[in-house]
Every structure is written in C-alpha cells, then in structure tokens.
Symmetry: C2
Subunit: 340 residues, 2 copies
C-alpha cells in the first residue's frame, strides 16, 4: 500500500526526513543515507533509506546540492519538520534558570525592559531577536500637558496609561503666553483624558482663541505622528547573524532588513496574522530572507495580546529550541508586564 494522500508521509519516510533535518540543522553538511540509517529511530539499511530519500526528493522535501552528495532539506522539508513537532520542547535547565533570574532581577522602564528582553532572547537562541512593544493606540491618555521650551516652541507631552509617553514639538507663528498654555493644557486635558490618543485627537473642536488653535495643532500633531512611531521595536543580537551565515553578502542583506524596522514589524505581524508561529524562507514574503526563518509569538498583558517577540535566524535553525525560547520568554514577559 503506497501513499494515497500526497500530503501525508509514510511514517518511516517522516522519520527519515526528520532525521535529515535534525542532522543538517546541527552539522550544516548534506546528510547521507548511512548517517540516517545509523542515527534515526528506524532500523533499516542505508539502501532503504536511500530509496526513501530519493522519493522524498521527488516529492520536494529534500534536495541534492549536486549528484553524489547527501541531501539537504528544502523549505518544504523544514516546514514538514516544524509542523510535525508536537509540543514545544522544554528549555534546557541552564537556560530556564537564565530566564527566571532575568525576569526576577530586571528593573527599569518599559523600554529598557523590552530592550533587555530582546537581548535575552538573542542570548538564548543565538539568533537575532526582535521585541515589538505594545502599540500606543490602545492605551488611554492619563495626562496631557503643554510645556514651553522657548518663545515660539512648545512641547506637547502626553502620558499614556501603559507608561509610554508621546511628545511632539509645536512651532508657533507667534510667541505665546504661559497663561494661554495653561488654558490650552486644561482644555486638551478635558478633551482627551481617559480616551485613546487616536480617538480623542480625531474629534475636531475648532476654536478661534489662541489656546483653541494650539489645541487643534496638538491634535493634528498626534494624528500625524501616529502612523510613524506607533510601535516600538527592539532588536537584540544583530551581531549573531554574522555567525549564522557564511556568505558575507547574505549577512549584509539580512542586516539591512533588520535596520528597516517597519519591515520587521510588518513581517512579524503578517506571520502572526496568518496564524503561524514559524515562517520559513519565502514564507516570510521578503526576498532577501530566502535563507532565513522567523519564529514568533505574541505576548499577553492582562489577557490581551499586547505585542510580539520573535527570532530571526537561518532556515537551518534549531526550531525546537527557538520555539521553546520564544514561548517561554513571551509568556514570562507577559506575566511580568501584567504584574509590573
């Protein structure tokens, strides 16, 4: 009885494929039938393995760098491997301890915490790590204030309920009086307090007083800035990518992607939106990441999805380890932010 469903693999072929992927992940060398025959759970001869491997190649799970070399997983091969993982492996005990002590000792502002978390994740996985902070949009305004910096420059400071601060400089046509600033602060507070920034600043309330004009300018600034820096991104361990690839050109390309934070953010949210936790090669939708994979997870604060974390490494990534690390860190981070 042969395989009817092309999407399903023979149990033995699946084992062989898994063995190939595992081997390749930590040797980075094409793997041959003998190694698989010896290493994998299945007890068959290398000849049998060869036959199955030829079939797996036919079906697109493996590929040969050149005739008479071992096999290397294709994107499809990695995908199968990842999908066939049952539960996320547990983290090594040393790593677990590392994570626990990190979250026990960390202190400081939200930004610092998120930034340190990205480094933690990079340390754990040895890949580049990304931490996307909670979007400001959801948070509520706790305080609004105009502060005069110089005669014609006013700083608008908005404190949000999650501890984040938005600020905008406003340049005025004419010098403004402190008393007017104070009136404007009171008025804007009345309009925005307790609402989200976007909701509050969308409501126009034109007025011809100088304070009123200031209030409107502030709302325009808040709406304008919104799209640009709405999400905070922290990237840790970019230096790890230098070790993950051997072609210096690839390193350069990947680093360039990491520098474009908006690309990284949209990549991660795309992946999460598709309901995945792993995207491999072209699944990322970013051409220069053809040899890369990302592992992502959201984190929840007080039961609500607040942000996301992820790692970016080569497609021959240690998926079990990365999945475990990402899962643990996202969970701990969420817990920490919920309590904190």
């Amino acid at each position: 009885m042969t395989v009817a469903d092309p999407m399903t693999l023979d149990e033995r072929k699946a084992s062989i494929l898994r063995a190939v992927v595992e081997q390749y992940i930590h040797t980075a060398q094409p793997v041959g039938s003998q190694h698989v025959a010896r290493a994998s759970g299945v007890n068959v001869s290398s000849a049998t393995v060869r036959n199955d491997m030829a079939a797996l190649e036919q079906e697109g799970y493996l590929q040969q760098p050149h005739t008479s070399a071992g096999r290397v997983p294709t994107e499809k091969g990695y995908r199968f491997f990842v999908d066939s993982l049952v539960g996320p492996a547990r983290l090594g005990s040393a790593d677990s301890k590392h994570v626990r002590s990190f979250f026990a000792n960390v202190h400081g502002e939200l930004e610092e915490l998120l930034n340190d978390t990205s480094h933690l994740l990079a340390d754990l996985t040895r890949y580049a790590a990304v931490v996307v902070g909670p979007p400001h949009e959801a948070a509520l305004v706790r305080s609004v204030q105009f502060v005069s910096l110089s005669e014609r420059i006013v700083l608008l400071v908005v404190v949000l309920s999650n501890g984040a601060i938005e600020k905008h400089t406003l340049e005025l046509e004419a010098p403004i009086d402190d008393a007017v600033l104070s009136v404007a602060t009171t008025e804007l507070t009345r309009q925005m307090l307790g609402l989200s920034v976007s909701a509050a600043s969308a409501v126009a309330a034109p007025s011809d007083s100088s304070a009123g004009r200031l209030v409107e300018a502030a709302k325009r600034a808040l709406l304008g800035g919104q799209s640009a820096d709405s999400d905070q991104v922290f990237i840790g361990g970019a230096s790890q990518v230098a070790g993950a690839f051997d072609a210096v050109a690839t390193v350069s390309e990947v680093l360039r992607i990491l520098e474009q934070q908006y690309v990284v953010v949209s990549l991660i949210s795309d992946v999460l939106d598709r309901g995945l936790s792993v995207a491999i090669g072209t699944e990322t939708g970013i051409a220069p990441l053809a040899d890369c994979a990302v592992v992502v997870a959201p984190y929840e604060v007080a039961g609500e999805t607040a942000g996301s974390i992820g790692v970016l490494g080569p497609s021959r990534m240690d998926y079990p380890q990365a999945l475990a690390a990402v899962a643990v860190v996202s969970q701990r981070l969420g817990r920490r932010l919920t309590e904190g």
Copy 2:
C-alpha cells in the same frame, strides 16, 4: 643629508607613503613599487620607490604581508597619512546636495532627527555611523509632573529645556491619593524648575509627609537613572560593516561592539577628549577594533558642544571622504539644532 628627526619624513618618502595608502584604500590589495612610480606625483623610477619603500618599512610605516608582495600601510602609516591631510576634502557635489536636502526636509522630534542623521552619515560614508545626542545633564528642567498610572504606580515625567524627556516609574508601598500627587508635583516643581536634573535632585529635603516622601523617591530615581541612560546613541548603517571586512569573524566582533552602546559612547568621547578626530586600530583602545578606525567630530548647538557624531569603518578607510562627511554633517546638524 639624511633625515635627522626620525619623526619627519623626506618629502619624497612622504609622497610615496601617501600614494601607497591611497592606493591601498581603494584597491585593498598590497601595492607594489611600479604602481606607485606610475601613479604618485613624484617622477622617479620603480627602483627608487622600492628603496624608499624598504626604508618606510624599516621605520614602521609599511609592512609586507609576505616577501615578494607589495606593501600595506601599518597603523603608523595610516596615522601619518591622516596627519598629513591638510584641509578636510570637500564632499562630492552629489553628496553635498544630499546633505542639504536632508537637512532641508527633515522634520520631527529630536530623537528622530538624530536617528535619521546617523543613517545619512552611514549612507554618505558607506560605514557604520554613530550619533551621540546631547547629554541630558546640561539641560534645565522645564516641567516636572507626577502622573498616576495605577493605584500604586506613579510615573515621574521631567521635561528638559532641550526638548528631551526623562521618565521614571515609581512603585509605591501604599496607594496614593491624587491630591497628594498634586502637592508633590507642586513641591518638586518648586525645587527643580530651572535647575539641571543632577543639581536639583542632589539637594535632599527630607520630609515626613507622604508627598515629601514621594518627592525624595523621585529625586533618588533621577540620580540613579542618570548614569545609565544619560546619553542617547543612534547607530546607523550597521549593515555596512558586513561589506567592509571580508572575515566574517571580524564582522561579528565589530557588530558586537556596536551593540554595546556604552562602549561606543565612551570610545567617541575618549577620542574627542584626546583632541583627536581620528583613531586608528589600537588607538581606539578596544582590542576587537584592531582593524578599524573611527572618525569623529563634535557638534555645537548655540556655540556650545552638545554632542558628537562619528563613523566606524575598516582602518583602510577613505579618510578624506569620511572626514569631510563627518565635518559637514556635524556642522549642519549643529546649525539645524541651533535654529530648530
């Protein structure tokens, strides 16, 4: 008559050395006597060049990768080359235009401006660029405010005269009343307004009221946070280092250094403190940067040194170009911040 002063070079030897450095900078290949003889301003035969090059090697300006190869500059050779540059070369006209249009069009907050500037500098030089923001210490307090985030968490927001904001979360033992927050805000404003953060928060004014305790906690937080995030650093074009070195190990090391922002900041301020604008190889005092060089410059806001910018590249860097770029950008940035 031979050279008496070992620090001074024959005019011809100097020309030859300069020619070697220039050649090497843009070919990355050991340069031979023939090329120098043909290219350099001096009109002598290759044999003469050979003799001088042998002498230059003796004196430590050049070195041979192996017998019967061309010469490569040593650190001392680069140093001579840099010191012998007269005025900073002017930027190419395309680059000049780029800089002008950048500063004409840029908008947004200080942080964004500095960050964008680091990318500008990286684009211009094709090396990694660093922009160090104005230290918060010098700025004066324009506004202080306690904002309640939740029952026992209070956010301290300090607005400084340069438009920067410092914030600190304070966790309280017991819930606190809004009225008390308001009193504390007033009191802290009275104590700090118009002073520098460090000066103002150093003065202890113990009090036993709950508002008083909050004020003291705030000052402790401000003093504590001071050392950590006193300077803001923006790094642009880290991906450029991948192209600048061929050994992937070097790339990795350099990136690791760039990730440690405090190292980068102290490197730059060290160099400036020593009155230099270029540090080459071991002059940086950082072992992994043995094959690197940095070019730095301070920028002035309203006549006062406010911060600094720099580029980090291989020791075979295009110094004239880098010096020109750094000079122009620092000057434009200073002007922009002075006007802005």
